[in-house]
Amino acid sequence: MNCDGVIREISNYIDGDLDAAMKQELERHLDHCQECALVVNQTKMTVDIFCDSQPVELPTEVRSRLHEALQRKLREPRG
């Protein structure tokens, strides 16, 4: 597998969607290609950083408007 092949399969590799043979081939490339190893690592970090980020607080006025609308809805008979 060359660099191009690795880049093409990064997503599948990160998601664990590669079959054993492909995975082994990709990892063999990473063993001797520092650039690809960095890209794979950093792409994985990118996913992790976004995935772990906590949602910020809902702005107070946005939350009140949501709950006002909800109260109106909850009072209606449900159809």
Partner: protein, 303 residues
Amino acid sequence: MDDVPKPGFGRARLEKTRSHYFLSKVVLGPLYPVAAGSVNPTLFAAGQNYSFISESYALAASSKRWAEVEAAVLCATFMIEPTKTGLFLGPLKATPLSAPNPHRLPSAIAREDEHLLVAAAKSGDATAFEELVNRYERKIFRLTMNITRNREDAEDAMQDAFLKAYSHLNTFQGDSRFYTWLVRIAANEALMRLRKRRPNQVSLDEPIEGDDDLMPREIEDWRPSPEQRYAQSEMHEILDQVIEHLEPDFRVVFVLRDIEELSTEETAAAVGISVPAVKSRLLRARLKLRQKLNRYFRQGEPN
């Protein structure tokens, strides 16, 4: 379990009490372990008014009345009939439940009682639905904000998503998580607004992107690690910046797959594109984001 039995006698009552016991894990939040050690759900069937305790705790915690918070925990722990303690400030009826920090709970706990809340909401318990809203409003707003990148649209999409979820609650089958179902509704609402605002930028088509520009440029070491370099608030800003500048087609797929953790198939269904298109856009989104982040994370870049 599709329906939480109405309070009554015997087994039905025990089941209902159990659901409050699970609910308490979320409502009691960080204090849950204190209560959990000694709460026995079977004994609760003897008549403990658990929803009263939960509501009292939530209300007291949100208004920082610590004596009452403690009283609620004591009641839960030692099974004291709360109405007899005189520790609470008065009637708390019709107060929406509000969990202190629902998004910080381990997802396993949050998931455990989700179906109980959904079942209660289905059988007409408005408080249970409000609890679901309280629990997910921040995440749903982040989702609609990430897709639309327009605050007005994001708010409308979030509101309509919750209202539609409530109206169509009876069509929710329970074969997926409620949250996943909610994400699909919210993603739809957000996408509709995004397409309206940028009709030419969001394609429903199969991948238009070729195989060309995949090769990463700007490959540099990220040291010290991004978490060591940036405080949480700075990190939030950086992530916001880089996702803002990702093209909508890529952004939507990335948000659903990597932030909301939908499966490839669920993402394909939500966006209305094929599975290969999801995979192709996800790969490009991840590579583009890595490259954008490199500008902040590379060695020697001033903080």
